[in-house]
């Protein structure tokens, strides 16, 4: 698997425009403010120096306070895997790609039927994603509809941890759940301190667009920050619905709202790892419903990545989805478009980019395979073109000369794998060979590849004694999930 790649070639804003966005963000925070529907948070903001209108639960922030709290947050956040090779450092213009969530339906791999997702699907998704080379970070992509709400957080995180050694990020649903997950991870790491040193999970909470901190999610944010668990505080302004229709204003909303979350975590636990985040998107003008396959989503996310770099904050970007209901051409072109825009902008972690479609409500195993391929190609593009003596190859050009061939030259064999992405899904056979192999389209080939991985017996990625320690301590964990 490729490590994160650096790239900042796509800049939606010039310097002047980025500054105008920043100034507007400061005006919104200073003049309009954020509605904070959680008492502890409002008090914390007030103590830190925000102007609080208690009647309306509004906190306003002057620019000095905003910049002080932003500067307190780390510019790079390390998301550890349980193997060294899966360690990811989010920040600056590094790029990586992963799953997202949280979908409530799954396309059953065996029947092809779209149905409510269950805990077994979370386990299967984690098993599949563990084997996808171009998926760097695993976000828990499904809601287990067959698990009681109070046990959901624990079961979701366990499904990731037991099946992959990649970093596991996930949304959380209850404060008790956050505590249980923290205890489970401490048990696996050896102690709470060991876990905090190398947190192999992170949590996602959210700020509500427009300009609102909800009581429940804010409690979760405070809880995660107290534990020192890396936390993402994304906002989801939707053009024309929860933000103005214009793309620049959508960016202003996302940055403003997510910054409010960042500031709160820094007040709760100064220096705690926090990630600026987005789920910004656009709407279908026929009924102003959320959509996730528009090219504008990629543009907005790329622009927000640029703002995150401006503030020196790590960024959780959004892309790689489709509004299609099946793994077809639309699923491919929409996903590829927004993933590519993000990675070319140096968006640190492109979430939602593997397996998600149908307005982000459904996960598909086949689409995971296809998106893994898109991710590999996009990462290759982000890597750019290496220019040095070896790659310019003057001596080779001279040696082969006019009319010659480079096919059997050592330079070709030496550089081919470094310079070119090798697809696993794309068909590059001549027509006759393709036909002889069944004349399958990409969706069918993706199905076969997913099946090949999931037909293997599950391999728990936790040592036996840790596994039994966790399942003994938390009998509400469903394992094995069938």
């Amino acid at each position: 698997m490729k490590k994160t790649v650096r790239c900042n070639r796509y800049r939606p804003f010039n310097d002047e425009q980025a500054k105008m966005v920043h100034e507007t963000v400061l005006r919104v925070l200073g003049e309009i403010g954020i509605e904070v529907n959680e008492e502890e948070a409002l008090e914390l903001f007030q103590k830190a120096g925000a102007k609080v209108d208690a009647d309306k639960s509004i906190a306003r922030f002057d620019s000095e306070l905003v910049m002080k709290l932003i500067n307190q947050a780390p510019s790079n956040v390390t998301l550890w895997g349980r193997e060294e090779k899966h360690k990811i450092v989010l920040g600056e213009d590094r790029v990586c790609i992963g799953t997202g969530g949280t979908a409530i339906r799954v396309v059953d791999l065996d029947t092809g039927e779209t149905r409510a997702s269950e805990i077994r699907d979370l386990h299967d998704m984690a098993r599949l994603c563990h084997h996808l080379d171009n998926l760097h970070l695993y976000m828990l992509p499904l809601y287990p509809n067959d698990i009681p709400k109070e046990n959901v957080d624990l079961n979701r995180f366990f499904s990731g941890i037991v099946n992959t050694t990649k970093h596991v990020m996930g949304g959380v649903y209850t404060v008790e759940g956050v505590r249980d997950v923290f205890e489970m991870c401490s048990l696996i790491a050896g102690s709470p301190d060991e876990f905090r040193k190398r947190p192999f999970i992170s949590m996602i909470t959210c700020v509500i667009s427009p300009l609102k901190m909800d009581s429940h999610y804010t409690k979760l944010m405070i809880e995660a920050a107290k534990h020192g668990i890396p936390v993402v505080c994304p906002a989801e302004p939707l053009c024309g619905a929860t933000s103005p229709i214009t793309l620049a204003a959508n960016v202003v909303h996302q940055v403003t709202e997510s910054l409010a979350g960042v500031m709160l975590t820094q007040i709760v636990n100064p220096g705690t790892p926090v990630i600026l985040g987005t789920v910004s998107s656009t709407t279908d003008f026929r009924d102003m419903r959320y959509i996730c396959g528009g090219v504008e989503m990629g543009m907005i996310s790329a622009a927000e990545a640029q703002m995150a770099q401006f503030y020196g904050l790590p960024f959780y970007a959004v892309g790689g989805m489709s509004d299609s209901k099946v793994v077809d051409a639309q699923a491919g072109y929409e996903s590829a478009m927004t993933t590519l825009l993000n990675v070319l902008a140096g968006a640190n972690f492109v979430h939602d980019a593997i397996g998600l479609f149908d307005f982000a409500l459904t996960m598909s195993y086949e689409k995971c395979i296809m998106d893994n391929e898109i991710s590999g190609m996009a990462m290759r593009a982000a890597e750019g073109i290496r220019v040095d003596e070896e790659t310019l190859a003057f001596d080779v050009i001279k040696e082969v000369g006019p009319g010659g061939s480079f096919i059997s030259h050592k330079h070709t064999a030496r550089n081919m794998r470094k310079e070119h992405f090798l697809p696993k899904l794309s068909d590059r056979n001549i027509r006759e060979k393709w036909a002889a192999q069944g004349g399958k389209d990409a969706a069918r080939r993706a199905h076969d590849l997913a099946k090949k991985i999931l037909d293997r017996p599950p391999e728990p990625q936790l040592p036996a004694e840790k596994l039994s320690a966790v399942t003994d301590r938390f009998p509400q964990i469903v394992y094995p999930a069938k």
């Binding site: 009319g403 061939s405 096919i407 059997s408 030259h409 050592k410 070709t412 064999a413 081919m416 001549i430 006759e432 060979k433």
Partner: protein
Amino acid sequence: MTTNYENIAEAVRTGEEDVVQKLVHQALDRGDSPQAILDEALISAMDEVGQLFEQEEIFLPELLVAANAMKAGVEILKPLLGEDAIKSYGTVIIGTVQGDLHDIGKSLVSMMLERGGFKIIDLGTDVSPENFIQSLKDNPETKVLGMSALLTTTMPEMKTTIEALEKAGLRDKVKVIIGGAPVTNAFAQEIAADAYAPDAVAAKNIVRQLVGEED
């Protein structure tokens, strides 16, 4: 296999001609028989590389650098073994048909056949039926004639060449195999060629079948 042979095999796999040659000399210096070095080090390494290629673990340029490294070792052994000791499957005449200047695919097939144990007479590109026939007369031991075309407009030249072979009374003397991007198995049957190969590796295997030396 001795350590030295393992090292030779590794150098073949990675295409290190210099290393292969150095190690072959070392093996000879310590008194190993040339035949043993050929069979146990060079050929077995190349067989393994061939398998990796068929499993798509390695790719064509990697296969070719390995073949070149093997050849570098064989060059040293050849004078010691005598020509007869190195098995040849026979002579193949190959060329791109008249009016077509495409070279890469045809040359690749030449290379694969040569590494696969055939003696190759490569007539190059833009080869007229007369030139093919002349070459056949000059090399009466030839078992197979290979033709390549990359253009749909030059494909009919394959038919013209086969008809010319018939007229010259040579059609029964050789097997004819054709290939090239627009060429299909159906076209091969239509013009009464003996075989069609979709790519260079397939070409090697099919030509071996044509001469009755199936692997």
